[in-house]
Each structure stands twice: as structure tokens, then as C-alpha cells.
């Protein structure tokens, strides 16, 4: 996600870039399965025992299908551990493009409210930037990536450079009307998603086409219609002639010349042969993903940096965040039985945060947003219905009632206790230390998800929902760490080298030619899907590094 942006920006600035990817190269022909028909799917898409053995964790992720296994790691090859009585579900794929192939594409800006949050309630340290510093970069990455969305004029969720939004369905329009009437200040808007609804010339020149409303994005898209490193940033980098992609090669350490205090390159391991090789560079960007980048820095400890490279603050690996999800709700929304949808929207609706914003909250700071959708029930309901014969079959032809489903994504507070560390002695087959994750959610997360459940129920009731099902607001727990798949914060940026790993340019305080622009830099997590923010900060940091290099500072 973020690495492709750094490669594009630096290549376009005229610098030679080595993109080191631990996974294999990905091609449309070999890896994408977005033209699979239902009758091509083996064994009714049921997971095999071998799947559960090879992918005990990955096989549970939303996008793990019999025809998308190629995008998820075999867990047994990539072990990690969790501290006693904690859990962490780590979903990932190691291949060219990483999770930018399988991501949910929801793309939201953080707001001034988010960038001020730590300073206002004292959790974590103050962001070293504000919204106006990042706004031009949000514009820049949105224009290139292509984000479909509606202009809403909300301070909690700033508008952006949008291509036309997806329709809301008839049931969602009614739901929107009742929610906005019953709860003034709340908004139900089309999701903002990185799928092209009106491709620009620039996008078409990269071979990208308009989204065909198939909703097969998790299978890879042969039209390049959603943003991924594979469809957009890497092709842009490649076409400059300045990029070299070195795949099936994992970075083991960042090498530093202890005399000059500068990084001189990275020590890598060839995944197939195990052969170690050094690749030198003027500047090193780490974009391996929050946990892998942090592990590389921890593993790069040396005489001057006994606790890990760039870790003079001691914050490396700490303040691990994700978004806790929960407050699932579903119901039947009566009416609209003479209406239907056409096409498969790779998106849903979004309800921006209202708690601790336009509405008060008890027992927690910050807030949550919702993602959801309402469509007509389909044939699977016949699997559990009485009846046999022609009448049973005929009834199955008719679309069922409209069913709404929604889930909340809540902000997790930065907390030094939540951390990732290197296992004392265990390594994987390539000699990398095994990560140990020690992350627990606290009262803020618990109270927040319980409030979200009450709000879910109230909105479904206000919309006249029947057969409403939600978790129990008195006993529910937030989903375990990792389920949000937004690991963040373990190399946070800040204003003070004593309490942060990076400065306001994603640049290491300790090693001037070392930058980190994946989720590790996040000083707070907001409640919005963070990938768009990683992209904006990556483009900004890469251009800043390019300036320093042109000035000779780096």
C-alpha cells in the first residue's frame, strides 16, 4: 500500500529505486481469479481440512475463498506468538502489492479533530502535524488513486477529490431518511471507496478501466479498476525506468555506518535459497507493514542502538493500535418490495462518527463510525425454508425482503503497554526473530463498543427494522486485536525525540536517511480506515526526502 507510493514518487523525482519485496511477483494472468463463475468454484467454496491446517488464521478472513488462497500467507511458514491471556489475529499476504490487493478499499481522511485528539485528551503524544499540513497530499493521492465519494461538508470527515459516488439502495435511502430525522447531526452517506467510477486520462494511461460493478475486488481486478500498488503506483514507478523490483527477497536488517550514523543499505535474505545479500542505498524507506517494519528495526540493533535501530526514545514496538470492530447489527427493513438493485456494488454506506462530536458519550473518549449495506435477501434463504417441488422452486426466484447489516469501527487509544517484541530465542526458517504480540483492549474500547451496540439498535428501530439482531450491549466485548486489520503506531511520529521514533516527515530522529511510512507512524488511529492516510503521508515523506537529497542534505 505505502511502499508503492514511495517508489512512484522517488522514481518520478528521478531517483533509482530498489523495491524489495519478500513475496513473489504477481501477474494478472497467473494470480487474478476475478472471472470465476459460481459453478467453477470447487466443493461449494467450502474450506478443506488442508486449508485449515495450512491457514489456521488466514482461512478465517473475509476474503479467504477457495479461489483467493494465493493472496494469504501459510501461517505455519510465518509464525508469531501472543503473550499469555492475550490474542492477536494477524491477517496478511506476502506478495507484490501486499494487502493492497485484498483491502476493503474504504478511503477516509482523518480530520483536524483526529490530529488534535491526543493533545486534547492526553492519551499518547501530540501529532507533529495538523490537517492543513496533510490536506494537499490527501488531494494529491486521491486524484491519482481515484476515490469515489460524495461531498458532505462534514468537519469530522473532510471531503476530498472524488469521482462520482455509488448509489445508495432504496432501503438505504429510507434508512438514511429515518436516521437523519431521528438523530439530527448523524449522516448516512455512500461509502468512499478506491474504485474508479469515472477514470481520468492519467488512470487510463496506466491501463486502468472503470469499475464493472462485479464486486470481485478480493480476487484481483483485471480492469485495474480499484487502487492497488499493482494497478497504479508500481506501474507508474516502472514506466519511469528508475524502478527495480527485487522479489522473493526479505529485508533482515537495516545496516548503519556507526561512524556517520547513516543507513548504508539493508541486509536481505533470498526466500528461496536463504542466501544473504546486502543492497546499498542513499536513503532507506521501510514500508513492510507495521509489524514487519518494526521487527526489522528491532532486529537491526547495534552498538549504538542496543534496543533496536532508531529507538533512542524506547517507543519502537510500543503503542500498537488497530480499530476494534463490533456492534454488528442486522434486521429486515420492510417495504420497497417492488424495487431491486442492478449490479454488485463493491461498497456500502458509511455513518461518520457522532459520539464525542455532535453527541455526548459516557465512559469513553473518541468514537466510532459504521460501515454497512442493505440489499434484498437472495437464494441462500431457501436453504433453510420448508417446502418441496415446483412451488418451492418458484418461490426461490423472487428476491427476499431487504436486509440491512452494519458494523462499527472504533478508535483504539495509544497505550505503551500494547506492544510487539522479538521472541527471546525463536526464529523462523529464514532466521527472522518470531514476533510476540502483547496487546489488550481496555475500558475505553469496551465501553465504546457497548455504546455502539446501543446506537446500532436505536437506529435499526428508528428505521422500522424487524427481526433486529445485535450483540448484547451489557456483556459484549470488542473484537480481538487484529480483526480490524489496521495495525498502527509502533514507530510513532511526534514532536519530541524522547517520546517518538519519527519526526513530522516520517524521518527517524536518530538516522536521518531512514524513513517509515506504513501504519507504524500513526500517532493516533482515528476511527476511519487508515490506508488513504498512509498513502498521503508516504507521498509527502518521499517528496521531502527527494528535496533533501537534491539539496545534498541526504
Amino acid at each position: 500500500m505505502s511502499g508503492g507510493w514511495v517508489a512512484k514518487e522517488m522514481c518520478e523525482q528521478g531517483f533509482k529505486v530498489a523495491v524489495i519485496e519478500r513475496g513473489r511477483k504477481v501477474t494478472v494472468e497467473k494470480d487474478y481469479t476475478d472471472f470465476v463463475d459460481p459453478w467453477d468454484v470447487e466443493h461449494l467454496n467450502r474450506k478443506t481440512d488442508k486449508d485449515r491446517k495450512d491457514y489456521p488464521i488466514q482461512s478465517n478472513v473475509y476474503a479467504f475463498q477457495s479461489f483467493t488462497k494465493q493472496f494469504w500467507v501459510k501461517d505455519n511458514d510465518h509464525p508469531y506468538e501472543t503473550a499469555d491471556d492475550t490474542s492477536f489475529i494477524w491477517y496478511r499476504g506476502y506478495h507484490e502489492g501486499g494487502r493492497s490487493i485484498m483491502w476493503g478499499r474504504q478511503s477516509y481522511r482523518m480530520s483536524e479533530i483526529d490530529f488534535e485528539a491526543n493533545a486534547r485528551d492526553g492519551h499518547g503524544v501530540d501529532w507533529p502535524v495538523r490537517y492543513d499540513d496533510i490536506k494537499p497530499w490527501y488531494d494529491y493521492v486521491e486524484r491519482f488513486a481515484g476515490i469515489s465519494g460524495s461531498m458532505e461538508g462534514l468537519d469530522i470527515l473532510p471531503d476530498g477529490v472524488f469521482q462520482p459516488p455509488h448509489d445508495l439502495t432504496c432501503a438505504e435511502l429510507d434508512f438514511k431518511a429515518s436516521v437523519e430525522e431521528s438523530f439530527p447531526g448523524r449522516r448516512v452517506i455512500p461509502g468512499r471507496v478506491a474504485n474508479l467510477t469515472e477514470p481520468t486520462q492519467e488512470q487510463m494511461e496506466l491501463g486502468r478501466g472503470r469499475c464493472q460493478a462485479r464486486n470481485h475486488c478480493f480476487q484481483g481486478c483485471s480492469f485495474g479498476a480499484y487502487f492497488s500498488s499493482n494497478s497504479a503506483t508500481l506501474p507508474a514507478a516502472r514506466r519511469t525506468g528508475n524502478m527495480t523490483l527485487i522479489s522473493e527477497t526479505a529485508v533482515h536488517k537495516v545496516i548503519v555506518d556507526e561512524a556517520t550514523g547513516r543507513a548504508t543499505g539493508v541486509e536481505t535474505v533470498d526466500i528461496a535459497s536463504g542466501e544473504s545479500k546486502v543492497i546499498t542505498a542513499r536513503v532507506v524507506f521501510l514500508n513492510a507493514g507495521t509489524i514487519p517494519s518494526t521487527m526489522i528495526l528491532l532486529n537491526s540493533a547495534n552498538g549504538n542502538a542496543p534496543n533496536g535501530l532508531a529507538n533512542s526514545s524506547g517507543m519502537l514496538g510500543k503503542n500498537m493500535m488497530d480499530h476494534h470492530s463490533g456492534a454488528r447489527g442486522t434486521a429486515i427493513l420492510p417495504g420497497n418490495l417492488d424495487r431491486h438493485t442492478f449490479g454488485r456494488r463493491p461498497n456500502g454506506f458509511y455513518i461518520p462518527r457522532f459520539r464525542n462530536h455532535t453527541e455526548e458519550a459516557e465512559g469513553f473518549v473518541r468514537g466510532f463510525g459504521y460501515q454497512g449495506g442493505a440489499t434484498r435477501e437472495r437464494w441462500w434463504t431457501s436453504m433453510g425454508k420448508p417446502g418441496v417441488g415446483a412451488d418451492f422452486k418458484a418461490a426461490g426466484r423472487n428476491p427476499g425482503p431487504w436486509r440491512i447489516g452494519m458494523v462499527a469501527f472504533g478508535e483504539v487509544l495509544p497505550n505503551e503497554q500494547n506492544h510487539v517484541r522479538m521472541h527471546a530465542n525463536k526464529t523462523d526458517q529464514w532466521g527472522f526473530p518470531v514476533p510476540v504480540l502483547d496487546v489488550r483492549w481496555g475500558d475505553n474500547e469496551r465501553n465504546m463498543v457497548r455504546q455502539a451496540i446501543r446506537d446500532t439498535r436505536a437506529m435499526l428501530e428508528a428505521a422500522g427494522g424487524i427481526d433486529i439482531e445485535t450483540d448484547d450491549p451489557e456483556t459484549a466485548e470488542p473484537a480481538p486485536p487484529g480483526i480490524g486489520i489496521h495495525e498502527m503506531g509502533t514507530a510513532r511520529m511526534g514532536r519530541d525525540p524522547a517520546t517518538s521514533v519519527l519526526n513530522s516527515w516520517n524521518q527517524s530522529w536518530d538516522i536521518p536517511n531512514l524513513f517509515v511510512t506504513d501504519g507504524s507512524f500513526m500517532t493516533s488511529g482515528g476511527c476511519q480506515n487508515p490506508s488513504l492516510t498512509y498513502m498521503a503521508f508516504s507521498a509527502r515523506a518521499a517528496n521531502h526526502a527527494a528535496e533533501l537529497m537534491k539539496e545534498g542534505a541526504l
Binding site: D167, E172, A213, H340, F342, R345, K393
Partner: protein, 191 residues
């Protein structure tokens, strides 16, 4: 508005059908194609024996008969179930299905001792309709029959005739429209 959609849709599909066909085959080829080629009636070799396959075919076809579109047998549901049990199912699944089918066979045998597969289509429908009603009313407890029916229905609607003739299937819709008259697209979408 909708007319344009159909015009546009046809163009999109025509320009992509070659790619789709090639992509579909390349993406998953192998056993699924060859097993479809067999005549549905023949007992596909595998875990279920001939009499079990006959019962599966008879009950499945009674649940979803031939109408203006394919029934369960024409849609190769029995073959899909045979592949599921043979290639995917573990011993626990296989035993559950073997014992479940035996019990279902007994439950559907008439008082005069006639087995389900020996009945005429209308006799089969009467016998199965009665049994199905009892199970779904809760007067008879038969978890296996519920699983059997759910698998038959899933296998049917995921089959090519089930998805493309009985229901509506758009491999490449071309665009999303959030609210259209049901009369324009009256059938449930297959995907």
C-alpha cells in the same frame, strides 16, 4: 434509463465474453469440467454407492424438479454431492451422510414397504412434502435432512443452469444502480 443499461450491458458482455471464457477455464479447469460432462443419471464413481446416488438423485429432483428450467439432476447436483463427499469430506462427514441417507431412506419408505426410489414422481412429491413439513414444523427431528436440503439448494443455485436460467446472473454488470423497478429485474440475483 434501463434500456440503456441493457444495451450497454450487452456490449460489455460481448467484448468480454472471450476473456471471461478463457479466464474462467484457466482460473479453475480440471475436475469440475469433466464431471459435468457425465450424464447426470449415471452413478459418478466415488464415496456414495449406486443406491445412495439413486436416493440422492430422487430426493434432490423432488425438492427441485424440472420446470421450464433444469431440475436438480439436470444441474448435476448428485455429481456435485458425490465430489463433495469423495474429494472434500473427511470420514466424519462421510459417515454422517451415509447414516443420514440410510435413515432418510427408511423414513421415506411407504407403509406398504415401497422404497422412495421406486415411487412415481407424484408419489415421491407427496411423500417428501409430508416429511419436509413435519421436519420444518418440528414434529420430526431430522438435522441430516435439513443439511441435505441446504446442500442440494446451494449446489443447485451455484450450478450453471441454476444460476443463469433459474435465477439472474450478470458476470459483468458494467455498473451499479441502487434502485430499479423489480419488474425490470424480477429474478433473484445468482451472485
Amino acid at each position: 434509463m434501463v434500456h440503456d443499461v441493457q444495451l450497454h450491458r450487452r456490449q460489455v458482455i460481448q467484448s468480454l465474453i472471450a476473456l471471461s471464457a478463457v479466464g474462467g477455464v484457466a482460473a479453475c479447469g480440471g475436475a469440475q469440467e469433466s464431471s459435468n460432462g457425465q450424464v447426470a443419471g449415471q452413478a459418478a464413481p466415488g464415496f456414495f454407492n449406486a443406491s445412495e446416488m439413486a436416493l440422492i438423485a430422487a430426493v434432490a429432483q423432488t425438492i427441485i424438479p424440472m420446470t421450464d428450467t433444469a431440475g436438480a439432476v439436470q444441474a448435476d447436483v448428485p455429481v456435485t454431492l458425490q465430489n463433495l463427499a469423495t474429494d472434500w469430506g473427511d470420514t466424519e462427514f462421510q459417515q454422517y451422510w451415509r447414516s443420514g441417507l440410510a435413515a432418510l431412506d427408511a423414513a421415506l419408505t411407504t407403509d406398504a414397504g415401497d422404497g422412495f426410489t421406486s415411487l412415481s414422481p407424484s408419489e415421491r412429491e407427496a411423500a417428501l412434502a409430508a416429511y419436509d413439513a413435519q421436519v420444518f414444523a418440528g414434529t420430526v427431528e431430522d438435522g441430516f435432512y435439513r443439511d441435505f436440503k441446504a446442500t442440494v439448494v446451494q449446489a443447485y443455485y451455484m450450478s450453471e443452469p441454476g444460476a443463469t436460467e433459474e435465477l439472474a446472473y450478470e458476470p459483468v454488470p458494467g455498473e451499479f444502480i441502487g434502485c430499479v423497478p423489480l419488474s425490470d429485474f424480477p429474478r433473484t440475483w445468482a451472485t
